[in-house]
Symmetry: C2
Subunit: 409 residues, 2 copies
C-alpha cells in the first residue's frame, strides 16, 4: 500500500507553522505496515494543488491531503478536486446539519461563509467531521483513492486515526487479504540505534527476532523500539527474545513516555513524588504534570533557582553550598531530601547543574548536572554530563532523572 | 526570487522526525522577501531525489536540499547531484582538513567512512561546514542554483543563516539590484489575524501602513506581526502608524517571546520574579528558565500541586481553600504573595486552575484558571477561561500570565 501526503496551505510555506500533520500520519502509516513514498507542502493555489494531486496519484495507491478546506476565499481545494475527479459542487444536508450542530455546541452564530462548508463535490463520499465543520471527502477513481482532510491538527488527528485508518485497513484487507499489523514497544537507555541494529543482526540472534520488522524511534535521551508483525504468536516470541537480549537496557515497555511509565509505577506502588529543580528550571514538573492524572502521585516542586530558595524553602545547608558549590552531589542530596520533607512524599528527584551557555566553572563545564534520587530505601546522588545547547541539556537532564527514578524503584 | 526546498531522508517519511528545517528556512526566506513556492520530503532513493531535483529546478530559481550527506551507504545525494550536474566525485583536501579539525575538536578517531566525506562533485563550489563534517555544495547551471546542506538541524541552521542567505542576497542584488529587506516586529494580544487585517485595509488607515507588507505570525496566546520594507524611512513611518493604531493591543516590540520581553523589562527596572504554579505545573518556570540569563531576575518557583504544598510552602490559608476552593482568586492572591515572600522577590505570578481532562466542578469547567499578579504596587487576581486540551490550557495560561505581568509593569 503506497501512500502520498499533500499538505495544503500558504502558512506552511511561509514558515509560520510547522507541519506536524505529516509526521503524525507518517508514523501511523509506518505502524500499519504501509509505505509513505512522498510528502509535499503546496500553496493555496489551484495550479499547484492540481499538479501535486496528479503527481501523487501516479506515485501511490492512496493520496492524503490536509488543509485548504476552510470557508474563506483562500481555500480552493474542493474546486480543484471537482476538476480532478470530474464532479461539481452540490449542497449536502448532512454536512449542513453537522455544521449547525458544531456551531450550536460552541454557542456561535452561523454566517454565510460557514454555510459554504455544506457544498461538496458530487463525485465523492462524504465522511462527517466529528470535531469541526469542514467535511472529510473520500474520492475513488481508477483503483486509486484520495482522501481530503482538514488541516487543523486536532481535527486531522481524530479524523485520520478514527475514520480514515480503519477504512484503509479494510480496503487493504479486501485487496490483498492482509491481516492487521500488531505491535510491541520497548523503551531503552544506554544503547544507540546502530549498536542495537548490529546486535539484532548478529549470527547468534534467534529466530524470529533476527527477521522481525523493527522500527527505531530515537527520542531525546532514550530509544523507543517498536516490533511489527501481523502474527500474534511470532510477535510474542520475538518480544520475549528481545527482553532476554536487551534486559538491562530496557527501562519500560509499552507505547508511552518515561514520565508516563514513572507515574504508573508510582501509582501501582502507592508512592508519591516531589521534585526540587535548579538547572532544569521546572521542566521535570512540567513533564510530569503534562500527563493527565499525575496529581494522584505528584505533590509539587520547588524550583530553587537562587541559593536563597534552596536554603529557605528546602533546607539546604548554606555552609555546604559554600564548601562544595551549588552544583554538587551533596547539595543535590539535600535538595531531594528537603523537598520530600516539605511536600511529604515517599520519593523525590533533584537537579542542580549548568545548563549554559554561561555559568561554567573550572572542573564543571556546561552540561554538568548533579541528579539526586530519593526512594523509600534512601537517597543517591551522582554527577552527569550532557551535550547540547541550553534546551538540550535541560531536556536530557529531565529525561535521565525520570529514568533514574524508574530504575531505582 | 523563487525557491524550492527538498528535505531528504527516510526518517522524515517514517514519522520518526518532524522536519523543522523546512519551516526554519521558510521563515527566513519570507523575511528576505523571497518566495518559497514548494517543499517536499523524499526517501534516500536515487530516483526519488533525481525526480524531485529536476522538478524543483523547473519551478524555481534556487533549490535548497537538506540531508542525505552522511557517510553511510544510505546517503546517495552526492552521486545524484553528480548525475544531475554532469560531474564526478573527486577528493577535496580542504574538506578532509575540515573533517580532521572537527574530529580533533571532539576527540574522536577518524574511520574510513568518515573520509568519504571529502569526496565531492567536481561540478560544484564547496562551502566549508563550520559545525559538522558534511561539506556544503553550491551548484550553478542554466542560471539556476542548487545548494545542498546537511540535515542535522543545528548544522543546517548555522549554514543557511550565515553562509547561504548572504550569498543568495548577493546573487539577488546582482540580478535585480534589489535592496535588502528590513523588518519591524510587534507582539499583540486581544486581536486576531482577520480583525487586524480588516483594520489595516480600512479606508482611513494612513499611507504607508495600508500598503506595507505585513507577515502574520500567530503564536499560542498572542499574535506576532512583522512589517517588511526595503526602505528604512517608509518602515519607520509605518511602524509609528502601527503603534498609534494598535497601541492598546501591543504588549511588546521586537523579534522575541513574551518571556524574553518580561525578563528584559524586569532587568531594566532592577526587579526580581518568582512564581507559584498549580495548574501550569512548572511550565511558567520552564518557559522563563529556558532563556539564558534568566537567573539574573528569576529566583524560583513553588509548584504547589497539592493543597499541602500551598499551605506549607507558600503559606496559603487552609480555611480559604475550604471556603473558596483551591481554584479561586483568593487562593491565587495568597499564592502570589506567599511565594514572593519565600523567594524574596519584587514581583510574582501565580496560577491555580483546571487543565483537564478531569477535575471540572459545577461553575468551574475545564480551562478555568485563576491568575495572580504581584508587583511592587500590589497584587491583582482574576479568573480566566482557556479553550483546548490539557497541553493547550497549560500553554495558554502560561502565556497569558506572562503577558499580564508585562502589562502591569
Amino acid at each position: 500500500m503506497k501512500i502520498s501526503i499533500i499538505a495544503i496551505g500558504d502558512e506552511l510555506l511561509l514558515g509560520n507553522v510547522v507541519d506536524t500533520n505529516t509526521p503524525f500520519m507518517a508514523s501511523l502509516i509506518d505502524a500499519c505496515g504501509w509505505q509513505l513514498v512522498h510528502s509535499c507542502q503546496v500553496h493555496d493555489d489551484p495550479c499547484d494543488i492540481l499538479f501535486a494531486v496528479k503527481d501523487a496519484l501516479k506515485r501511490s495507491d492512496i493520496v492524503l491531503t490536509t488543509g485548504g478546506l476552510g470557508p474563506t476565499k483562500d481555500d480552493i481545494t474542493k474546486q480543484v478536486l471537482c476538476e480532478c475527479f470530474n464532479g461539481k459542487l452540490i449542497f449536502d444536508q448532512s454536512v449542513a446539519d453537522n455544521v449547525h450542530r458544531i456551531f450550536a455546541e460552541r454557542g456561535l452564530v452561523m454566517n454565510e461563509l460557514t454555510e459554504t462548508q455544506a457544498m461538496v463535490p458530487d463525485c465523492c463520499k462524504v465522511i462527517q467531521n466529528m470535531t469541526g465543520t469542514a467535511p472529510i471527502m473520500w474520492f475513488e477513481k481508477d483503483n486509486k483513492v484520495l482522501v481530503s482532510m482538514p488541516g487543523v491538527p486536532r481535527e486531522m488527528r481524530y479524523t485520520f486515526t478514527n475514520q480514515i485508518v480503519p477504512r484503509i485497513k479494510q480496503l487493504n484487507a479486501e485487496k490483498s487479504g492482509a491481516k492487521p499489523m500488531l505491535h510491541s514497544f520497548f523503551l531503552l537507555e544506554g544503547i544507540n540505534e546502530s549498536e542495537l541494529n548490529m546486535l539484532l543482526q548478529a549470527p547468534n540472534t534467534p529466530q524470529p527476532l533476527n527477521t522481525i520488522h523493527v522500527a527505531y524511534l530515537p527520542q531525546t535521551g532514550y530509544l523507543k523500539i517498536r516490533l511489527d508483525c501481523d502474527d500474534n504468536d511470532t510477535l510474542t516470541q520475538a518480544s520475549l527474545q528481545f527482553e532476554q537480549l536487551l534486559g538491562d537496557k530496557i527501562f519500560a515497555g509499552g507505547d508511552q513516555t518515561p514520565a508516563q511509565a514513572l507515574i504508573d509505577l508510582l501509582y501501582q506502588n502507592h508512592l508519591t513524588l516531589s521534585t526540587a529543580e535548579s538547572c532544569t528550571g521546572g521542566n521535570i514538573a512540567h513533564t510530569i504534570t503534562s500527563i493527565p492524572g499525575s496529581s494522584a502521585i505528584y505533590n509539587g516542586s520547588v524550583v530553587s533557582y537562587s541559593n536563597e530558595m534552596k536554603i529557605n524553602a528546602i533546607n539546604v545547608n548554606p555552609e555546604d553550598i559554600n564548601l562544595y558549590g551549588a552544583v554538587s552531589t551533596q547539595v543535590a542530596t539535600q535538595m531531594a531530601e528537603g523537598v520530600a520533607q516539605l511536600a511529604k512524599t515517599d520519593c523525590s528527584i533533584s537537579t542542580t547543574g549548568i545548563a549554559g551557555p554561561g555559568g561554567a566553572t573550572p572542573g564543571k563545564p556546561v552540561g554538568t548536572v548533579c541528579i539526586g534520587i530519593k526512594t523509600p530505601n534512601g537517597t543517591q546522588s551522582a554527577t552527569h554530563h550532557f551535550n547540547g545547547n541550553r534546551a538540550e541539556v535541560i531536556e536530557r537532564a529531565t529525561t535521565r532523572a525520570i529514568i533514574l527514578l524508574l530504575r531505582s524503584l
